[in-house]
């Protein structure tokens, strides 16, 4: 969804942080994307390459850290791995799952100079 506008949000953060953290160029952006965040890593890469032109991130590489989805299964009382929202619990086959991880969509760190 809306990867292009998210890429613009990344650039905005980079520009704001440039003043706060005193850097002029960004070399690497490490972005965490959860499996359940509704964001396609490939579309993010494409979008970032487009929006970074002519900015302080022109030379920046986008490194994506994919975070697996996890959920709490109520009947089993344990944390289980899920790849999609509608996955069943791999142990009991039920759908009473509360997503606990994998919704991340955040810039984790930067390499700057």
């Amino acid at each position: 969804m809306h990867e292009m506008s998210l890429c613009e949000s990344i650039l905005k953060v980079l520009e704001e942080q440039a003043r706060a953290q005193d850097y002029t160029r960004v070399k690497v952006v490490r972005l965490e994307i959860g499996a359940l965040a509704g964001v396609e890593p490939e579309a993010m890469r494409f979008g970032f390459d487009v929006v970074k032109k002519g900015t302080l991130a022109e030379q920046a590489a986008l490194e994506i850290i994919e975070v697996p989805g996890t959920a709490w299964c109520m009947p089993c009382g344990r944390t289980v791995a899920v790849e999609r929202r509608f996955d069943a619990c791999p142990y009991c086959g039920g759908y009473q799952l509360q997503v606990t991880g994998g919704e991340e969509l955040r810039i984790k760190e930067l390499e700057v100079e």
């Binding site: 613009e8 905005k12 850097y23 509608f86 760190e109």
Partner: protein, 379 residues
């Protein structure tokens, strides 16, 4: 343009309407000729102090032209003047490699006597000054801040706000018109319409006699909380009303954007196929209520209602489902009752708050009167 949904650029970067304190950087020159800069915020005056053990980072420029940055703490308050030499004491702990911010590890060990640095402090004269900055910043944080402001706006006025989402052609506007016609005599309603282009929907809503405002997102594929905040300023809905926000017809993008609403309501028509909840799980997961619309057409279709509801509950256990027909009127009573219940609850919270404030005000006035009386006794 976005390869997934066709969402174009330029619609998300509106200047902020909330005046958040801006961080900025100042450069200081010390008596020994060194300079450093650090970011800070102002609260109305051009000086600031560090209370207690406040950690922050400084970038220092030394006389030999090298620069470095490090974290340190202040134990005492001190003013920072600008434009003149100022001396102050810093205590540097061994925090040069503080987790959020670290120097280039290759360049360790360049000690110097500038007011007592800890051991982990680094310089890289003549070398690459590439460094890591850990910022842990959520990409939706900005939208979420605006959404929180909208939510406060609704709460203060006792407004029950709904974010209606669906694919194009689900019958959302027809349902909305039916809903407004049934409810407008009972409670004030205002509508925010989101579409890429045209004001056709807002015109349809205005024909019912309730205030309505159209947001055209241009190339954008969803409404965001900032646009809705501006729309609320112009629409100015009355206290204890219902605000319906009809989002852009799209089962993907609006799921990620909180507008400050009480609930997302997803509308799915039976002509779309029962597998939509599995195909677009994020949207059905984000919604609290699913309206299964156009049920009057079921005899002509092979739509499996039970299966559809089961799919919806897979992605959102506990999602409420109502089967409705905007044209024939099926299920509308339940839907209207659900809205009225929510509106009553939102208004009740506001009244409780107002009552509590009135009680507190009366209490303070009594205290003031008692104090004035005592003051009168003395003089």
């Amino acid at each position: 343009m976005c390869t997934v949904c066709g969402c174009g650029s330029g619609t998300m970067t509106i200047e902020g309407h909330e005046h958040v304190e801006e961080e900025h950087t100042h450069r200081h020159r010390h008596a020994d000729g060194t300079e450093h800069s650090h970011p800070h915020t102002h609260e109305g005056e051009h000086a600031h102090s560090h209370e207690g053990l406040v950690e922050h980072s400084h970038v220092h420029r030394h006389a030999d032209g090298t620069e470095h940055s490090h974290w340190h703490t202040h134990e005492d308050d001190h003013p920072h003047g600008h434009g003149e030499p100022v001396e102050h004491e810093h205590t540097h702990g061994p925090a040069g490699d503080r987790p959020r911010y670290s120097g280039d590890p290759v360049a360790f060990g360049h000690g110097h006597a500038h007011h007592g640095h800890g051991p982990a402090h680094s310089h890289a004269p003549g070398m690459s000054r590439t460094r890591m900055v850990q910022i842990e910043q959520d990409l939706l944080a900005e939208n979420n801040r605006y959404a929180a402001a909208n939510r406060r706006y609704f709460a203060e006025r006792g407004i029950f706000a709904l974010n209606l989402v669906s694919s194009p052609g689900s019958g959302k506007t027809t349902l909305l018109v039916r809903t407004i016609e049934a409810l407008k005599g009972r409670m004030p309603i205002a509508v925010i319409e989101g579409d890429q282009q045209t004001s056709l929907d807002a015109d349809r809503i205005r024909a019912t006699g309730v205030p309505s405002l159209q947001i055209n997102t241009g190339k954008g594929c969803h409404l965001d909380a900032h646009m809705v905040g501006h729309a609320l300023e112009r629409l100015n809905p009355v206290p204890e009303s219902v605000v319906m926000i009809e989002n852009v017809g799209n089962l993907v993008c609006p799921a990620g954007f909180d507008l400050g609403e009480a609930h997302k309501v997803v509308i799915l028509s039976v002509t779309e196929g029962e597998d939509k909840p599995l195909k677009y799980p994020d949207m059905f997961h984000a919604a609290d209520l699913m309206l299964l619309n156009k049920v009057d057409l079921l005899p002509h279709l092979s739509f499996d209602v039970e299966r559809c509801i089961e799919y919806a509950r897979r992605v959102k256990p506990g999602i409420r489902v109502l089967q409705v027909s905007a044209t024939r009127g099926d299920g509308l009573d339940e839907w209207l009752a659900w809205i009225e219940e929510g509106a009553r609850a939102a208004a009740a919270v506001r009244r409780d708050t107002i009552d509590a404030l009135r009680r507190r005000n009366a209490e303070l006035e009594r205290e003031l009167a008692a104090l004035k009386a005592r003051l009168g006794e003395r003089t």
